[in-house]
Amino acid sequence: MELTVLVFLPAVAAVIVLLLPERYESYAKWVALAGTTAALVLSIQMFFAFDLDKSGFQFVERRDWVDIGGFNLQYFLGVDGLSMPLVVLTTFLTVASVLISFNITMRPRAYYACLLILATSVLGVFTALDFLLFFLFWELELFPMFLLIAVWGSGRKEYSATKFVLFTLAGSAFMLVGILILAFNQNTFDIEKLGQSTFSGTLIPLSWVFLLLFIGFAVKLPVVPLHTWLPDAHSDAPTAVSVMLAGVLLKMGGYGIIRMCVTIMPGVADDYSVWFVGVGAVSVLYGAFITLRQTDVKRLAAYSSVSHMGIVLLGIGALGSTALAGATYQMLAHGLITGLLFVMIGLMYDRTHTREIAKLGGLARQMPLIATGMVFAGFGSLGLPALAGFIAEITVFLGAFQRYEWAVLMAIFGVVLSAGYVLWMLQRVVFGPVRHEWDGLTDQKYWWEHSAVAGLAALVVLLGVYPALLMNMIQPAIDNIMLRVGS
């Protein structure tokens, strides 16, 4: 029951928000906050109730739902060590997103409803154990996201929103075909069962099926060259949506690759491992190169996400126990760090109303707290030890080095580049001579801003200094998958 409650808590909150009468629309944020906080509390409770010694899925719920021609789509939820941390990450970032949206005054009911449905969709993706249910949740996120970018965004928001939807739609189109072919072969959508099956006589070669699924996930991750929607979506989305996008939506791609591609078709993953690693390494470098030329803070952060998610793909592709765990850790770390980075950029943008690096500068003097947060997030992003990103990156590198030295060497060069773009950005935005047009702007000062930033920063540090907290949970799940790969 917990999982159902958890997944649909935000949706229920969304319904309540929508039903609020117009004169109470300023209460929308409180309802949203209450709903997401409840979800967060519940997920944390589950996190600690999670039995580390048990293998397999926990908090399982399953019942038949819809008959799709011959066999059932089940309502089948459950979490394991791979998804549990992602669930907590999602609930946490949702709360943070709601908090930093507190100053939204344009149609708040619709805004929060979209945000909450988005949360339900992502939670559903991370907990669904039926492939079609997974797909349902995967698609559910599209329209709220479209509206969030298109209505509450800035800049070329229509273009970006459409681009986002079409990219995802195209990716998921291929994914759907892959899902149906797999399901036809085994007469089930059950991920657990599919994950134990060997496939023979699929309609098209299994490696093609793998590719179909992979494209769907790769768009989301995103992998070069399917990434160009990301900078556009990020730069034009409102802050909270950027946070959700970078923080959890991208992780759906990585999670999907591990949960579906690798677990269900380990043989194919192994055969084509070198390609994934190569693409991952190229993503790291390519993303970093382009990041170095960005002049818009948000686009810069977005391209850096491309680079960082390349590390995830690198870890997955290397198909080692350590590398996969590292990739998972990287997803979590990147979610928090880039989430924080976008929060800081958002706070800054709220005040200065520009994201042009050339127009900014010297903010450390006028807004010391925001500047500190930016520096912190920046260093998290470049993989500073004692912060979450470092553990993740180095675990991936260590895990992948044995098998693909060249790819890891490429990727660690990307780490140097990341120092380049982060520090360049900090130098231009935060440091440098004071600009008097920003005099009189307020620093981070509201409680909701403080709590969102502090919470994120605290988690970044926590994951950086106490990796065992999550590693002990992730590792058994990864080892389960590795058993499949090994055999």
Binding site: V66, D67, G69, G70, A170, V177, L180, I181, A183
Partner: protein, 486 residues
């Protein structure tokens, strides 16, 4: 009398039509009642159908020309529902246009009767007559509007429809020539026996049938009338065309090809034909819709693309051996889901266009500020047409593509899913206009209760079946099961 009892659902509708004409002629001051009489007739029809379902006494009657089975019952409900929605959505328009109110509703109900007969007919002659009974009133209705476009639409529809009928008839004649009968099961028997010697005739007949019904289904290359007629005809009539006659055509094609032409040497041919037509229809419909500026015309092209989607199910019927009703049930389920969705979209368009006085998509700008409910309703329907959850359209696509994959039509399914990306583009562009654009006029849009009711029913259907599609799926499966029982 037992036989009349069997056609009770149709009779109820016809009786309502007659009653309407009578009231219109005798007590014209009571014209406001007319739509309610129509609704009453449809309700009686539905109840009568339910009685039959409750009796569980499925049978064929009239010398085998009509079959009351789960399949036809499914469509009785569907057509009654569609017609009721259309009637509700028409009230405003009919009151405003003022041309022959009684006749309008009577013709709508007559069409409905034709559609119902069409879904139940098991004989080529009956099928032809039922087809014409549903078509001729539609030709008239398409030309019902007083403006020149409406007449043009009616004339175009009729002349092309007549050519299509002639082709269809020639095909039926050939079928009759080969088999010596017009009753579907008997045709099937003869073809199973010695049909292969006359394969050429059968293929030609099949092609002509596909053409004749393809006209109603609106699949490429028989679709070209669709955008013109949808744009020109009164919007409620376009709505009726887009779901009613399309659904009936699919119903009857499924029945003919499944009951009469299911011999292996034929089904191999026509499944391929359907697959190719499906792929072309989707692509043409979607690509052409991209640059449309008139929402009715856009929906016309979209309905061509959707017809291509349905046809995936038809193509899938033939190939699969052990689960060969899957494709059929997919078609039925998709039809039902599509009926809710497309009606919802059209009703929204009726409600909106009436007030803003334009069908141009660009005039929908800023609609959200004027009428959030209408905007959301239309958006929901567009989402459903794209096939995004939580809507009935999602399950429909899921179901039909699953059937396609199971029939080893992976290429077709890939074409289908890619097409839904294109469709996403133009559906979204409508949504974009509504949510983003600005209009000087910020006056709220009020809708009449009748339109509100029809809109409520359809969008609720889209949403509820988007979450709990099982009842609809079971019904579709049960309906399609009659083909397996044979």
């Amino acid at each position: 009398m037992n036989s009349l009892d069997i056609v009770g659902p149709q009779l109820a509708v016809l009786a309502a039509a007659a009653l309407i004409l009578l009231i219109d002629a005798l007590v014209p001051q009571q014209r406001r009642m007319l739509p309610f009489v129509a609704l009453g007739g449809l309700a009686v029809s539905a109840i009568w159908t339910t009685v039959w379902v409750a009796r569980d006494d499925y049978q064929t009657a009239f010398g085998g020309t009509l079959s009351l089975d789960q399949y036809s019952v499914f469509f009785y409900y569907l057509f009654a529902g569609i017609t009721a929605t259309v009637v509700l959505a028409s009230i405003d328009w009919v009151n405003r246009e003022g041309r022959g109110q009684g006749e309008y509703y009577a013709l709508v109900l007559t069409t409905c009767t034709g559609l119902m007969f069409l879904s139940a007919a098991r004989d080529l002659i009956t099928i032809f007559l039922a087809l014409e009974l549903s078509s001729i009133p539609q030709y008239i209705l398409a030309g019902w509007g007083k403006d020149v476009r409406s007449s043009e639409a009616g004339l175009k529809y009729l002349l092309l429809g007549a050519v299509a009928s002639a082709l269809l008839l020639y095909g039926m004649a050939l079928l009759y020539g080969v088999t010596g009968t017009t009753i579907l099961p008997e045709i099937a028997q003869v073809i199973q026996g010695n049909g292969e010697t006359n394969r050429s005739v059968l293929v030609l007949a099949m092609a002509l049938l596909v053409a004749g019904f393809g006209f109603k289904m609106a699949v490429v290359p028989f679709q070209m009338w669709v955008p013109d007629v949808y744009q020109g005809a009164p919007t409620p009539v376009s709505a009726f065309l887009s779901v009613g006659s399309k659904a009936a055509a699919f119903a009857v094609v499924t029945r003919i090809f499944f009951e009469a032409l299911d011999a292996k040497f034929l089904s191999d041919d026509w499944s391929m034909v359907f697959a190719v037509i499906a792929a072309i229809s989707m692509t043409v419909g979607n690509v052409m819709a991209v640059v449309q500026t008139d929402i009715k015309r856009m929906l016309g092209y979209s309905s061509i693309a959707q017809a291509g989607n349905f046809m995936v199910g038809l193509a899938a019927i033939a190939v699969v051996g052990q689960e060969f009703t899957l494709g059929a049930s997919a078609v039925l389920f998709f039809l039902a889901a599509y009926a809710f969705t497309n009606l919802g979209a059209f009703v929204s368009v009726i409600a909106i266009s009436q007030k803003i006085g334009s069908d141009q998509i660009k005039d929908y700008a800023g609609l959200w500020k004027r009428s959030p409910v209408l905007t959301l309703a239309l958006a929901l329907c567009l989402i459903s047409l794209t096939g995004i959850p939580p809507t009935a359209g999602f399950w429909a696509k899921m179901y039909i593509f699953n059937a396609g994959v199971r029939a080893d039509l992976v290429w077709l399914v890939i074409v289908g899913v890619l097409n839904s990306v294109i469709s996403g583009y133009y559906y979204l562009s409508v949504a974009r206009q509504m949510f983003l654009g600005d209009s000087e006029n910020t006056q709220p849009i009020r809708t009449s209760p009748s339109i509100g009711l029809s809109l409520g029913v359809t969008t609720l259907g889209v949403f509820v079946f988007g979450i709990l599609p099982m009842p609809l799926i079971s019904a579709a499966k049960e309906a399609a099961h009659i083909f397996a029982a044979k």
